[in-house]
């Protein structure tokens, strides 16, 4: 395309330079215009332990705050086990994410905190306090994004394990970054040199004694899977449709697929995916889809199926004819 003949060259983008949009809309690399919780460069980071763990080779990004990130680092001496502080500024002021496991435990009786990945943690909460805990996580701890909600049928324990996946976009891993190549190994998804972390020493662990920094420089965000075990014989859970605008869809799905009730949720009793379904909730483990299909639907003539092992055995090693 000839730029000179372009009637709106000001909004155009030069061929071969897709990352350098010069127009007014949309602009590449423009800083976030979000009014939410996204940290903005220039925001003071009150990191107290912006230091690498003792015994590790000092990295360029380990004890020196990166340019453009004013950091009031007070701990200049490398101390083993010194936690790196991650303060996020939320709607109601600053919150230090290191306190999250302890806060959830003391406020809502959360237990079984577990770091699956440096940017993914799992915690269990009593279903009675689930809505309060999710509200607090959203409003105070910065977990503003509901990725999904689903359930797992743990039939052996007689419970449905509800899972709410929340995401905190504001955790900025570029602020506190220290790598420990000696104790670490490469992440599973990104084999780059920048993403070296040590297993088990994740950003947020249950004691708050975070050490090495597990995630790639420049990445951000932390995901939290919140579990709640609901009695399988009486599955009723508080609805969170007022917290997130799309939550009622997930609740409708769980009602239809598992039979978990969410009183007050909009249209929760309507059919969602399985229109005209008359069987039991189909995602329960004790629902046998094959047996249901055999019992419900008629056989269509002209269709036969063979067990592959039996069929191949018969065709390869035919039975010797009986001697008369």
């Amino acid at each position: 395309m000839n730029e000179q003949t372009n009637p709106a060259a000001g909004k155009g983008i030069a061929a071969g330079q897709p990352n350098q949009a010069t127009g007014n809309t949309p602009v590449a690399g423009q800083p976030s215009q979000a009014t939410g919780n996204t940290p903005v460069a220039g925001q003071p980071n009150q990191a107290t332990g912006n230091t690498p763990v003792a015994g590790q080779p000092s990295q360029a990004t380990g004890n020196t705050p990166a340019a453009g990130q004013p950091s009031q680092a007070t701990g200049n001496t490398p101390v083993a086990g010194q936690p790196n502080q991650r303060t996020i500024t939320g709607q109601y002021g600053a919150y230090d994410l290191r306190q999250l496991p302890a806060d959830l435990a003391s406020r809502y009786g959360a237990h079984s905190w577990h770091n699956q990945r440096p940017d993914l943690s799992v915690v269990s909460i009593n279903p009675g306090q689930l809505r309060d805990a999710l509200t607090w996580l959203r409003d105070q701890a910065g977990y503003v994004h509901l990725s999904f909600a689903t359930a797992v049928d743990n039939i052996e324990h007689g419970v449905f394990t509800l899972t709410y996946a929340l995401r905190n976009h504001a955790v900025n891993h570029a602020i506190n970054h220290a790598v420990s190549p000696s104790a670490g190994h490469t992440t599973l998804h990104s084999a780059g040199q920048a993403t070296v972390y040590s297993a088990g020493q994740a950003a947020l662990n249950s004691t708050g004694q975070a050490a090495a920094h597990p995630v790639a420089t420049g990445t951000s965000g932390h995901s939290l899977l919140v579990h709640a075990d609901v009695d399988r014989s009486r599955p009723v859970v508080d609805s969170i449709h007022l917290l997130w605008g799309q939550a009622w869809t997930y609740q409708r799905e769980m009602k239809e697929w598992y039979g978990i009730d969410f009183p007050g949720s909009p249209r929760v009793d309507e059919e969602f995916v399985l229109e005209g379904w008359e069987g039991p909730p189909m995602m329960r483990r004790d629902f046998d889809s094959l047996a249901y299909s055999d019992a419900t639907y008629a056989e269509r003539p002209g269709r036969t199926s063979h067990d592959p092992a039996v069929y191949m055995k018969k065709s390869l090693y035919p039975e010797p004819e009986a001697q008369s």
Binding site: A15, P18, A34, F148, S190, A191, G218, Q246
Partner: protein, 387 residues
């Protein structure tokens, strides 16, 4: 819409309507309708030619994937997962494979990391090319659809050369990718990228500077930035509202930390801005593909040796692996109980919120003729709602 006019924001509450009053008309759009993306239907209540209420109905393409996966071996699920989002199966393959690798503790070779990134970017481009045809077609520009679907076919030719399949590739498998690039493939990639880029320049000229397209798309389906967190909006729909979130940057998975790109951010998330932003992301994908071709290691293994897939037991655990697909956050939540079959595989598709909750609210007050353009501008794929 006038230039200084603010796009209207639909009300949060549904209106109470007396359908027997004779003032309203109830009309179904879909499930088989050119203005609907995929198999889905909208139950519209119309007053004059304005939509006053909408209910989405999904389920026409429900195939029970999540239930089926619980009955199959880990490896047998691969032909299933790629069919969850038909126009871009590779994101399913990547998320599922990465979740298995994380649970089983498998590290993939560096060349596989690059080839996965190449595969994901190529399918991103192909999916956007299909979308832009639908977006233009919804406003009466059928020619654009013919151009862009041709370009998509050229990209699918590349996939055929790489993996043997045009639509479902099953190229990304646990432990890496299925094979190395064939001889001459990278040259074909670069040639195709040149062709597609030329065509995108034409599309920009014809579509985005067309006065009819501008008048109909500007101000349509305005998403305020406050909705992004409230409704869980991700991807280009959120970035067009000025929220700088791109999981390729935020999660830093695969080779993305080693590529040079910045998330593209817009300002006012209406249908025009979203389509404009996606056009820029197509250019960005072309640039990323060129970078990947430059950086691709010449040799090295492309996959890690796996245990016997028929007796492969994944250690007990759970994880959630997400990736940035064309529509936003695409994720797989995988739970293993230590057996040879998954306990639970849950798919998080971005259309779950875009096509249902957001769509139902945005469509209130829209002219009936613009419903199709609005729906396409959200870039929804109903199959991932139903799974």
């Amino acid at each position: 819409m006038k230039k200084d006019q603010k796009p209207p924001i639909p009300p949060a509450e549904r209106a109470t309507l007396d359908l027997d009053s004779g003032k309203y008309l109830v009309m179904w759009q879909g499930p088989n309708h050119p203005g609907i993306t995929g198999n889905m239907s909208l139950r519209l209540v119309i007053e004059g030619d304005t939509v006053v209420d909408c209910e989405t109905h999904v389920g026409y393409l429900h195939r029970g994937f999540e239930k089926l996966m619980e009955r199959r071996l880990w490896m047998q699920n691969f032909p299933l997962v790629c069919r969850i989002a038909v126009p871009e199966p590779d994101f399913n393959e990547y998320c599922y494979a990465a979740a298995l690798e994380e649970l089983a503790g498998i590290q993939i070779p560096d060349k596989a990391v690059w080839l996965r990134t190449l595969s994901l970017e190529m399918i991103r481009l192909a999916s956007f090319l299909m979308w832009i045809g639908g977006q233009a077609g919804a406003f009466g520009h059928g020619t654009i659809a013919q151009w862009s679907v041709t370009m998509r076919d050229y990209v699918l030719d590349l996939f055929e050369e790489l993996s043997g399949g045009r639509i479902y590739h099953m190229y990304i498998i646990p432990g890496g990718v299925r094979g190395d690039v064939p001889p001459g493939f990278l040259r074909h990639v670069l040639e195709t990228m040149d062709t597609v880029q030329q065509n995108l320049d034409d599309i920009e000229l014809v579509m985005f500077h067309n006065v009819v397209y501008k008048m109909r798309a500007q101000g349509l389906g305005y998403i305020p930035p406050e909705w992004v967190d409230h409704y869980g909006i991700t991807g280009p729909n959120a970035r067009a509202a000025g929220i700088r979130r791109d999981l390729r940057k935020d999660l830093g998975y695969l080779a993305y930390p080693r590529l040079d790109f910045q998330p593209i951010v817009g300002g006012v998330s209406d249908a025009y801005e979203r389509s404009w932003l996606r056009l820029q992301e197509m250019y960005q994908s072309i640039d990323l593909i060129r970078q990947i071709v430059d950086c691709l290691p010449a040799d090295g293994p492309v996959r890690e040796k796996l245990p016997n897939p028929l007796h492969w037991k994944i250690p007990a655990g759970e994880t959630y692996v997400a990736a940035e697909c064309t529509r936003g956050e695409y994720g797989f939540y995988v739970v293993s109980d230590g057996s040879d079959k998954p306990r639970r595989v849950a798919v998080r598709g971005p259309s779950y919120t875009h096509a249902v909750a957001v769509m139902e609210r945005l469509v209130r007050g829209v002219n009936i003729a613009d419903v199709a353009g609005l729906m396409v501008s959200l870039h929804t794929y109903p199959p991932e709602v139903e799974r």
